[in-house]
């Protein structure tokens, strides 16, 4: 038996279930539909990796072995994920690379699309504007739903002329139907046909499905770029970085004069404006020495009015994350973060970073936030 998954939320008036009204199967069927929409169709869109070509004077992407990370938390209902990458253009002969994807624990390829670590993937010709997505499909039914440490790691091994990865993206695939009785977060549609008895197990499952849609659904906000073994200094590194041990901005590889970037998103604000959201901050970084570093993220709720950010009453909340020295190895550090929601939007920025000091470098590959509703 299976329960269909609609692709739209369903309308409903509460007057249909007020005291004294007869219980009809339609009201219960709406519960089935809405649960199926939430847990089977409206699934996670994980963050994305974008790796533009490096500015002049920096280590170039061409021929540089590199990696990219997409943190991800499986939603309770999803079975399959669509993984896609795009490559930079190039006119060089023998411009190819292999791409290997390290899958989260429990995931298995249905079709790797050539992202197997051995297939030579050639760069599209320079000047071609049509993107060429290389797409794979992955069975994630064996992954742990709600885990906060899963990640998709793309390892790119180019030839001397391989131009490298331009973009990587991960999307959970909506379902056509749920398998009833297999532990999937759904309600049995057949159980609420007219004339059937509704049993307690079914009503208990309503609350389990509500929780799956509330706490199992996690927003993914991710700024992810390049990581490599390149160990050049602050002026030529291809990574986002900071050298000085004093608190200051990250070098985002932008042109001089550019304001540090900030990003925006719409928070869920499930419990009203006064109850902040629980998130997990994840930072992928490397320090060239054993000296610990630090990065501080700034969150503020508010809205954009006439082209300018207007903060809400709760003000800026800063979350400082200590980055232990890694002596040249890339590592993750995770820390809980509380984000205010007393505005329709949230603004996220890197407030400041502290590097290891002169001649050494803090490199950053990914700054992600994944909702961690309890």
């Amino acid at each position: 038996m299976s329960t269909p998954v609609p692709q739209a939320a369903s309308a409903f008036a509460l007057s249909a279930v007020r005291t004294g009204r007869p219980v009809v199967s339609g009201g219960l069927a709406r519960l089935v539909d809405e649960v199926a929409f939430l847990n089977g169709h409206n699934l996670h869109k994980a963050g994305e990796v974008h790796i533009p070509t490096r500015p002049a004077g920096r280590t170039v992407l061409e021929g540089l072995a590199h990696r990219a990370q997409v943190p991800w938390s499986r939603s309770p209902g999803v079975q399959t994920v669509r993984v896609a990458v795009e490559l930079h253009t190039s006119n060089e002969l023998a411009d190819s690379q292999t791409i290997a994807v390290a899958l989260p624990t429990g995931a298995a390829w249905i079709d790797d699309g050539g992202m197997d670590g051995t297939t030579a993937l050639y760069n599209p010709p320079r000047g071609r504007t049509a993107p060429r997505e290389i797409v794979g499909w992955c069975d994630v039914s064996g992954c742990t739903a709600g885990a906060l440490t899963d990640v998709w790691e793309f390892t790119v091994t180019p030839t001397a002329k391989g131009a490298g990865l331009r973009r990587a993206t991960v999307t959970e695939v909506s379902l056509a139907a749920f398998e009833v009785g297999s532990g999937e977060p759904c309600l049995d549609a057949a159980a609420v046909r007219s004339g059937r008895l509704v049993v307690s197990a079914w009503t208990q499952q309503v609350y389990a499905c509500l929780d799956a849609a509330r706490a199992g659904y996690r927003q993914h906000r991710c700024v992810s770029g390049l990581e490599s073994d390149d160990a050049t200094g602050a002026s030529t590194t291809p990574h986002w970085s900071r050298e000085a041990s004093s608190a200051g901005p990250l070098d985002w590889l932008a042109t001089s004069g550019a304001t540090d970037p900030a990003w925006y998103f719409a928070p869920r604000a499930l419990y009203g404006a006064a109850t902040s959201g629980n998130w997990q901050a994840r930072v992928r970084y490397r320090t060239s020495s054993g000296t610990g570093c630090q990065i501080a993220l700034a969150f503020e709720a508010g809205d954009i009015t006439s082209g300018a950010w207007v903060g809400a009453g709760s003000g800026v909340v800063t979350s400082s994350i200590m980055l232990p020295g890694t002596s040249g190895a890339w590592a993750w550090v995770d820390q809980a973060a509380v984000i205010p929601v007393d505005g329709p939007l949230v603004r996220v920025a890197v407030d400041s970073a502290k590097g290891p000091g002169a001649g050494q470098l803090l490199s950053v590959g990914c700054i992600a936030l994944i909702e961690a509703e309890l």
């Binding site: 299976s2 998954v5 692709q7 739209a8 939320a9 369903s10 309308a11 509460l14 279930v17 009201g27 519960l31 809405e34 649960v35 169709h41 409206n42 963050g47 994305e48 533009p52 070509t53 079975q79 399959t80 669509r82 896609a84 253009t89 320079r126 071609r128 504007t129 049509a130 993107p131 069975d139 331009r166 993206t169 695939v173 379902l175 139907a177 749920f178 398998e179 307690s200 208990q204 309503v206 609350y207 509500l210 929780d211 509330r214 906000r221 991710c222 042109t255 550019a258 304001t259 970037p261 900030a262 925006y264 998103f265 719409a266 869920r268 009203g272 954009i304 082209g307 300018a308 950010w309």
Partner: protein
Amino acid sequence: MSTGERIAAVYIPTPPSASGHMPDGAPLDSGSVMIAHSNLSHLSERNVRLVGHMPLAGEITLDSTFTVPWGEAIDVAYDVASDDPANGRMGTIPWSPGCAESFGPLVLSATRIGTAPAGYYPRKVRVVVQGYKSSETIGGNDTRMYIMAALTTGPDTPLRSGLYVTGYAQRTAATPGARTFVLDLDVAAPVRPSASWRSRGSGLEAPANTTLSPAWVWVGWYSNTVSVPDRVESVSVFEVYQ
């Protein structure tokens, strides 16, 4: 707006499902059912997806967004008749790397009801670009900066893909300075599934494929500055429930 009525615009906490809240024989009271309906409606509205976020490179000029990109393009040519972003004709730029980025796909989810035409409409997708307009004038004319966005039916550029909807914002040298551009991509019509994706492993009773409505978000920029560049500094793409 939620399509389903809510008791209040908040999620009302409920007992854990394993707590024996409704044992056999207990009445399924209207209050509990109302709370369940209200919570589901609230979640359908609020479970918006964040599509993509990235820093951008900074300076942009006519050379970097028009002259060089069109000069390099080998599979598309500039057509002045298609250069009218204010009216949805997105041919100002070739949408190549350096003057555009794409995000997605995301699977469109209908959570709004519309009447003209009647049906369920997908959530709006919002594009926010942090930028800066310079004060450069050329020959006494203000320079211009465009931010453009499009929601497409396929991964190809807005010049070749089907378009669900486009968006556009302009800033001139008459109003220089930092600007946070907001473009809402509002598909104000029902959409039909346009692709079939693998949604399960094999060997199960439920279908292994799903027909659905994937969409890609394209964000592009144009500047006709020459000596004092405009800047684009970050882009954020996400669904909104307002």
